[in-house]
Symmetry: C2
Subunit: 393 residues, 2 copies
């Protein structure tokens, strides 16, 4: 029974006294097989422990039932949620999903080039990655269906959000609360230079921010706009600069929740209370945002992955996908990091007091033998705001 090499469809056919065609029909649940025959073949398959070769079937059929997802910065929460969304529908549709983590443009190109050969995958989902017309042309020439998520690709179905509207939303909210000096902390997006910044999500959100200010009759202050590499740590550094200004902002809009975390950390480290002295609004609404009470612009991350996968599978079924550009809704989520600013005078004096707090606390830590906190931390600042409020009331 247990031969050295695996059973093939021919073995099954021989053992059950039918032709390979019939076995194939049984396997694929095709019609036109007599019940008695089907049962017999099934029994033999079971006996022999036969498992059809995915590969051979794919080669013969001309389709793999597998799709590729090319996604940058896999470790970012937003990327993961998108991927998870796509994975869930692709798995449900019976597709294997090959994941390419394209952290650098070089790797992105490398992966894309590999995928240019048909039958490597049935289709491609490109996430958050601008793609050159040249690359795109190569992929299309290969006849591989493509959809994009979180990035606009001309001539290809793409699921995106309106970043400009998002920036507008966040900034308008802060303006509505009464803020006038609103800082902006954004990232350059990948290896972009500042010159191409206008084409990144962060860049478009900045445009929205500017629009909102303009609509409110406010002149955008260049010194309040800070850009740096992505990441909480960098956002923390940028925020430190902002809060160190002679006339610091009373609110900051960060272009991602992760960066907003950095903003909060910087505020904490500098003894600036949130939302008392500084309002913060993020972007994305990752799981963490709800937990720490971060006000933010919610974008449907997982949903974007789901939509992308759905559209790709529609494409693979040969259906037309319309409209090419699908724009998902944004929603402002107001939590506890944004509030009305204090009256101007009081605010700046309050800031001074808070600064001194740090030194005092340091002394206390040492005296008490608790050891000093090392890195920027929220935790060490627990409850401070409320305590402060109580003290003042």
């Amino acid at each position: 029974m247990r031969t050295s090499r695996r059973a093939t469809i021919a073995d099954v056919a021989a053992a059950s006294g039918v032709g390979v065609g019939t076995v194939s029909r049984v396997i694929n649940g095709a019609v036109n097989v007599r019940d008695a025959t089907r049962v017999r073949v099934l029994r033999v398959i079971d006996q022999l422990g036969y498992r059809p070769s995915h590969l051979a079937a794919a080669l013969s059929r001309g389709t793999q039932r597998s799709v590729a997802v090319v996604v940058p910065h896999l470790t970012r929460p937003s990327a993961v949620e998108r991927l998870a969304g796509a994975l869930s529908v692709l798995a449900a549709e019976g597709y294997d999903t090959v994941v390419y983590n394209a952290d650098s443009p070089t790797r992105r190109d490398h992966f894309l080039a590999a995928l240019t050969s048909k039958d490597r995958t049935d289709g491609i989902i490109i996430m958050s990655l601008p793609i050159s017309q040249h690359q795109l042309a190569a992929v299309r020439r290969a006849g591989v269906p493509v959809v994009a998520v979180d990035v606009t690709v001309r001539g290809v179905p793409h699921t995106v959000i309106d970043d400009t509207a998002g920036g507008l939303l966040a900034t308008e909210q802060l303006l509505a609360l009464g803020h006038q000096r609103i800082g902006f902390v954004g990232d350059l997006g990948g290896r972009m230079t500042k010159s191409t910044f206008g084409f990144t999500a962060s860049g478009r959100r900045l445009a929205g921010y500017r629009q909102a200010l303009a609509a409110a009759g406010l002149a955008p202050c260049q010194s309040l706009i800070r850009l740096g590499p992505y990441g909480a740590a960098n956002a923390e550094a940028l925020t430190t600069e902002l809060l160190g200004l002679p006339d610091p902002p009373t609110a900051i809009f960060a272009t991602s929740d992760t960066q907003a975390m950095g903003v909060l950390a910087a505020a904490d480290r500098m003894g600036v209370r949130v939302p008392g002295e500084l309002s913060v609004v993020g972007f994305d609404d990752i799981e963490l945002a709800a937990l720490i009470g971060l006000s933010t612009v919610r974008q449907p991350l997982e949903q974007s992955g789901v939509e992308g996968a759905r559209r790709l599978s529609a494409l693979l079924r040969g259906e037309k996908v319309r409209p090419l550009r699908q724009v998902l809704d944004l929603q402002l989520v107001q939590r506890n990091t944004s509030a009305q600013p204090r009256p101007t005078g009081q605010a700046s004096s309050g800031r001074g007091v808070a600064r001194e707090t740090v030194a005092a606390a340091e002394r206390h830590y040492r005296a008490d033998g608790w050891g000093m906190p090392r890195t920027g931390c929220l935790a060490s600042g627990y409850r401070a705001d409320r305590a402060e409020l109580r003290r003042q009331s």
Copy 2:
């Protein structure tokens, strides 16, 4: 030149006046091809835009150059880091990586069953998933190499940490700081029941916690041990129970950083200061931990993925992998959420005061028209601890 169907190796052979064997040799960089021939073939390949079929090659060669990663709860930071680690080395080795997000045991079994057929993938990495002997046997029978990461699988190379030692490490640290009443917040791990809890990471960490207490001559108090489903929100609820006890713990060990976030949120919401009134130690050391200053037990997450992938690729090269069980190092990272407890009497009175703080703050919020914070939030508590310290000094 542009025919309707794609160019095949035969087309290239014909167009360059050589045999298919030679073309194959050129493609695969084999030796024994005259330079002149190689150049000629290469030129034709380029002209025809020929791309070898991965599928056909795989079928013929009998190997896919692709591996499967089965991972549960892909959205958890720890899972993502492991996956990213594996992805990086697999990509470097030229493997395609198919990701299966096995959120439920049903799906896990389903995926595993699918992978049981050889030539679906060359190898499998199983992450954080206990696997039955039955399943394992099926996979081995299929002759597919397997390695495990973050889970012990008998007879298979696995990369793990010593969870018990980790629990010990965290608890000993809290004991060393002078804590006596140490709470434990853990999860049940997947769909496990309490009866199988002893076999989960959280369960083993609990064992370490118990060992540490025992070694310190302390009787573990059952009411201080709380288990619930995974997640920050659940941990928050459990912590609320703990802090509501007549004699609440002065420290809590949470079995993941995510859960520790929930602990912090609960403390914040209840007006319990960290680390003043409550020390918190997490587990994992995800990126966020550093940002918020969470004390934690660091486990090399990404590294575990890297090791798993390396071992699998060694296996695929036909090398022996020894030792089967690879245990990665743990390290306690002391940040700002853990400190010495206050003297007993003062601590409990301090707790009372803090409780009142909440009510006072609530009143203040309303009066000020700032709106009340809604969900558990760190942010609303910014700087409180230091302010409190200052007030006392």
